[in-house]
């Protein structure tokens, strides 16, 4: 059986804490350990931050929606917006070795997301764009 939860808020970084707190609660409901729940909430923080920054250019009048879907096998979190879309082909993961040698700044959010989650994908349905974060439910992440 699928369970859905939706949270919508203004595209303002003031709501990042709300987004991460809600994510931790829903992850715990889905049976993830506290540690995994915190990691997933960090991935959501990064996805929401990227949305506010790159899709909306900090326009607080716009809206961000988090849709959580829990199935028997996985938790899917869609970070939705109707701003500037990002496609998978535009995503470039930095070479972390080079990054640290040259003390680069920025672009770490996507690295965190991909290292924490089982999958990260970008897509669109009509005018709604999303960043989809998926974490499998299983023994290794269980609380």
């Amino acid at each position: 059986m699928k369970q859905f939860f939706n949270v919508e808020f203004a595209a303002d970084t003031i709501f990042l804490k709300l987004a991460t707190d809600v994510t931790v609660s829903i992850c715990q409901l889905a049976g993830f350990s506290n540690s995994t729940a915190k990691d997933i909430s960090l991935a959501v923080d990064e996805a929401v931050t990227n949305t506010i920054k790159h899709a909306y250019h900090f326009d607080r009048r716009r809206r961000v929606t988090l849709q959580f879907t829990i199935t028997d096998t996985e938790l899917t979190i869609d970070v939705r917006h109707n701003g500037i879309p990002i496609s998978d082909t535009e995503i470039h993961l930095p070479d972390m070795e080079e990054y640290m040698k040259r003390y680069r700044k920025g672009g770490l959010g996507i690295v965190l997301m991909t290292r924490i989650m089982d999958s990260v994908a970008y897509g669109s349905v009509a005018d709604i764009h999303y960043c989809r974060l998926v974490m499998k439910r299983g023994q290794s992440h269980a609380g």
Binding site: D39, D45, E46, M96, L108, G109
Partner: protein, 118 residues
């Protein structure tokens, strides 16, 4: 208040004690603190994470923004008292290889004496 930052000078090092959350909403305060210290030519920094509940990549980016100038001036940023979840963020990104991390504040400060840059 989501983030307050206290700075203490101890044995020639500036100990930065953030209390609360460092995310994209609060990072400007953290970034300004680091930049002001560097402007004052304070190149021996200790980030004491005792009160730091959470850090996102924005906070790590702020550290990266000053580390080059600090190391160019024979200084460094030492980290201490990190909670498991904050340490985990550094670890996921491999930043535990870039920064020296100590369990407690005193050794993080005294390590500047015979300092080896990583």
């Amino acid at each position: 208040m989501e983030l307050t930052i206290k700075i203490e000078n101890k044995e020639g090092a500036a100990v930065i004690c953030p209390d609360g959350f460092i995310n994209a909403h609060t990072v400007n305060r953290f970034e300004e603190t680091l930049q002001n210290l560097v402007k004052e030519k304070q190149y021996r920094l200790v980030l004491n994470g005792q009160g730091l509940e959470y850090i996102s990549s924005a906070g790590l980016g702020a550290l990266m923004g000053v580390i080059e100038e600090i190391r160019d001036n024979d200084g460094d940023i030492h980290l201490c008292n990190l909670s498991e979840s904050v340490f985990n963020v550094f670890d996921i990104l491999g930043f535990t290889e870039l920064y020296e991390i100590f369990e407690e504040e005193a050794p993080a400060i005294s390590a500047f004496g015979g300092h080896n840059r990583k």
